[in-house]
Amino acid sequence: GQQVMQIPQYQHVQEGEDFTTYCNSSTTLSNIQWYKQRPGGHPVFLIQLVKSGEVKKQKRLTFQFGEAKKNSSLHITATQTTDVGTYFCAGRPPMDSNYQLIWGAGTKLIIKP
C-alpha cells in the first residue's frame, strides 16, 4: 500500500544547532502537510505544500516539496527549546477519493541540555 517514510525517528541536537526531518512517499503526492506535536499535546498544522519544487519559510523553519512530489523536508535553523516536539508529515495521494492522509511516523526533536 501507499506509505510515507519519515526519518529519522529521533534527533538529539544541542540548542542552536540545526534540525532536519525527511519524508519520502512511495507514490506521487498531490500535496503534503506538516504538523508539530508538543509533548503531551495534539498535532497542530504548520503548513501545506502543493507545487512541485515548492519552498516555504516560517521564521526559522524551511519546508520543501520535491520536484517529483514524492519527498519533502522540514529544516529548522538554530533550534530553540520551544522547538521541542514531534514533527509529522502527512501526504495526500492524487486522485484519492477516500479523504485519507498518509502519515509519516514522526521525528522527535530532543534538545540536549
Binding site: 498535532p43 498544522f45 495526500r92 502519515w103 511516523a105
Partner: protein, 112 residues
Amino acid sequence: DVKVTQSSRYLVKRTGEKVFLECVQDMDHENMFWYRQDPGLGLRLIYFSYDVKMKEKGDIPEGYSVSREKKERFSLILESASTNQTSMYLCASWSGLGNTIYFGEGSWLTVV
C-alpha cells in the same frame, strides 16, 4: 477559534469493558476521524466519517466501531477493551480538500 473537544482526557478501563470515546467539533465539518497514536508508529487511522451516519474503515478498524448520529459528534467504541488497545486516541475534524485538519487534545486510554 476552531474547536475539537474530546470528552475524556484520561481513562483507565478493565479488560472486557465497553468504552466510549466522544468527540465534538464546532466547525460544521463534514469529515471526522479517529486515530490512535503509539510510540514509533505515528498516527494510524481507525475509522473516518464523511457525513452523518456514514463511516469507513481506516487502517486498523479491528476491535473498534464508530457512531455518527449528528454532524458535530463522532464516537469511537471499543466493544470489549483489551490491553493492546492501551493508547492515545486522537479525534480530528476537516472541511475538505486543501484545508487543515484540526485535532482534539487526545484521550489517553489505559486498559488493565
